[in-house]
Symmetry: C2
Subunit: 109 residues, 2 copies
DNA sequence: ACCAGTAGATAGTAACACTGAATAGCGGAC
DNA sequence: GTCCGCTATTCAGTGTTACTATCTACTGGT
């Protein structure tokens, strides 16, 4: 992955995962697949699981273990109220940045 | 500063500084002031100087020392060719992220 | 003599994404 | 019946980054 993308994902990837979970509950492997389908082709499992551990510890998601027909049991993550609050805050922060960068891009500096 | 903003700035702040320099050369203290004027009210000098040291070491800027009427000599940073290339790449990476997040925000997840 | 404003530097910290590898369960091919 | 591939999770170690807090240094005004 490009160095710039890696750095830019910091603080954003967590929001992306929360946003994905806001649509419907999902488990790690599935989330990785969705990210890939969305164009984030270079994000590997290890990275996603680290995010999931973090948002669980922060109490932004509820977790249930669901047996899989194929492979070890899945840990299904569901966004809870605190997670939704955090996601809202994420979008506000993102919106702020987006605005400022749009101005900069227009060249009024 | 909010935790989310701090993390989100990683990888972005450097691009912001390069973008500011693309308009015209500037020195650290001045750049901090411009950032503040742009709404980044919580970014302090120490943070900006760290970025400047980094982009200088990467060879993205040329540096000249200019005496100041008031206070110690200024280090004026000028974006060079490598810096411009890096800035282009930054905007591409940013554009990619912006697109994906816009989709996510629209709720198609 | 002191202080505020200007200007830069730096050591230490915390957070984060990445790398690479390991573990574990199941199905099918051979 | 053993090996391979796919599913699924975990974890230790690394590098990069922004922040905190503090320090130095120069000038002008009170």
């Amino acid at each position: 992955m490009g160095r710039q993308m890696t750095e830019m994902l910091k603080g954003v990837l967590e929001g992306i995962v929360l946003a994905i979970l806001s649509g419907q509950p999902a488990y790690g492997y599935e989330i990785t697949a969705r990210l890939r389908a969305r164009g984030f082709t270079d994000i590997v499992e290890g990275t996603v699981y680290a995010v999931l551990v973090r948002i669980e510890q922060k109490g932004l998601v509820d977790v249930t273990k669901v047996p899989s027909e194929k492979g070890p049991p899945r840990k299904v993550y569901t966004l809870n109220d605190r997670g939704r609050t955090d996601l809202d805050e994420f979008w506000r922060t993102w919106g702020f940045l987006e605005e400022r960068l749009e101005q900069l891009k227009q060249g009024d500096n």
